[in-house]
């Protein structure tokens, strides 16, 4: 089951047990929520292809005391209705769980309109958000379930790209210990980072929760390796978490190389996800070369 299918089945179950939950949709995934809507007609809402209203409805439901879970593709969940996120959630002082699918280029042949590498960077301009970037469907299920209680604003970024195994611990988890430096892999980037750094003497940290950023975990890893050189590999805009790394290491002379979706070109490629990985240097070989150059 993909992360998106896991999310859909998880919410289908959760709606039955928590009467405060509501799912708000803009046509995407509405068919899959069809039977849940029959059971809970007032708590599964499809606003049609109206993404400004999608987020505002969530804001209004939260004002009334509900816990809305809002879902569509990342480009139409975060980028198109950004002011609604800023004002109808954050500025109203209410919260919702935003769950996107599509990620940076999960629909490669659909073109730029359906690619959303800037979603996490945009959410970063707003205060007090949790941002989860699961790397496996089991992590997605865990992170969705953990986000449902409470009133926080949460962004969960689901992807068709996934690692072979889940890693369910919170914060930055050290999956490999080395003494030459630190590589941070976020969400679906893990398996290719492990492969790209295989045989090297590097610490590999993994995060599926990137906000709040685990600064203490990074400092501990840098201390135990004794080298404040960090490669950050994120599946969205390159350098999105660079300022958090810089802040975490502000009292240590350090070097940082950020890998991620390139910022300086309008990518017009179609093809497969692998073609886009290659275009952005996020394939295993490109990561291996970048890491080797950085640590030589």
């Amino acid at each position: 089951m993909s992360m998106r299918e896991t999310f859909l089945s998880t919410m289908d179950e959760a709606l039955d047990v928590d009467m405060r939950l509501a799912v708000v949709l803009a046509d995407i995934s509405a068919t899959q929520f069809g039977t849940a809507k029959l059971r809970h007609p007032n708590r599964v809402i499809n606003v049609g292809i109206r993404e400004q209203l999608l987020v505002s409805v969530a804001g209004g439901m939260a004002l009334a005391g509900m816990r809305p879970v809002v879902h569509t593709f990342a480009s139409f969940l975060v980028e198109r209705p950004f002011e609604q996120i800023k004002l109808d959630l954050v500025h109203q002082g209410v919260g919702a769980v935003l769950v996107s699918s599509g990620a940076s280029y999960d629909m490669p042949a659909a073109g730029r309109t359906h690619h959303s590498p800037a979603d996490v960077a945009l959410i970063d301009t707003l205060p007090c958000w949790f941002v989860h970037v699961p790397g496996h469907p089991d992590e997605a299920r865990r992170l969705v379930l953990e986000s449902l209680p409470g009133d926080s604003n949460v962004y969960i970024r689901l992807s068709e790209q996934a690692n072979a195994e889940p890693h369910l611990a919170p914060g930055l988890q050290a999956l490999r210990q080395g003494s030459g430096g630190v590589v941070i892999a976020v969400g679906p980037m893990l398996d290719r980072v492990l492969a790209a750094t295989d045989g090297s003497d590097l610490t590999v940290l993994y995060a599926s929760t990137i906000r709040p950023f685990d600064a203490a975990g990074l400092r501990a890893a840098v201390q135990s390796t004794g080298v404040a050189d960090v490669v950050l590999v994120e599946p969205y805009l390159a350098g999105t978490s660079a300022h958090f790394v810089a802040d975490a290491l502000s009292d240590v002379p350090h070097r940082l190389r950020s890998l991620g979706v390139r910022r300086h070109a309008e990518v017009r490629t179609y093809g497969e996800m692998a073609d886009h990985d290659l275009a952005h240097g996020l394939d295993e070989t490109s990561i291996a070369v970048a890491v080797k150059e950085f640590f030589r």
């Binding site: 400004q52 804001g59 209004g60 439901m61 009334a64 004002l87 109808d88 500025h91 109203q92």
Partner: protein, 233 residues
Amino acid sequence: MGFMTTATEPGFADLPRLLSLMTGDEKHSAASTSTLDVLWVLYDRVLNVSPTRLRDPARDRFLLSKGHGPMSYYAVLAAKGFLDEGELTNWASAESRLGMHPDRTRIPGAEISSGSLGHGLPLAVGTVFGLRALRLKRPKVIVLVGDAELDEGSNHEAIALAGREAMDQLAAVVIDNSSSTHGWPGGIARRFDIEGWVTRTVDGRDHDALAAASTEPHPGHPLVVVAVVEPKD
């Protein structure tokens, strides 16, 4: 204009004085603001709200979408006991919680923070969905918008869905002072009518007409009251 004034509760006649606390203008009159009559009628005769029941789930909700020029709103909130009138004099200063646009997290009784246009009606639709999910079928959700504010496309997403969802808990009051740059040929009510709303167009200065239009039932349909006032100069 039917209203009553008692020694303890300020009435409509007190609003010019409350407004002048904010403007410093002695001659400030009700006619100089497009929203004062509507706001007064809603708080005095339509809304089931009270400063003693700010978090009551069964209260009516009033959403001031048109957050610009909130002096009338603050004057009415002060007259109805949500604010102390002593707060009005230093409004919009760093020491005040009353801004040029209202902040719901700071003002008792303000249901939304507004200022950017086109957010109130969509938030009101969400609030009705929330009330329905909580099985609260009685509270009304009334949102005040301006005719120029309807330029924002987000309103039209909300108008269509509210009509199709038969939201009879929802009412929009549109202050029409002919301030929309490109206008609404055929009238504002028509935009709501075609989407399944009950529409009533009244004189925005006539308190009895405003009260009747806002309170007469509209089962199975959302309601729009178009309150026509003098064109903005």
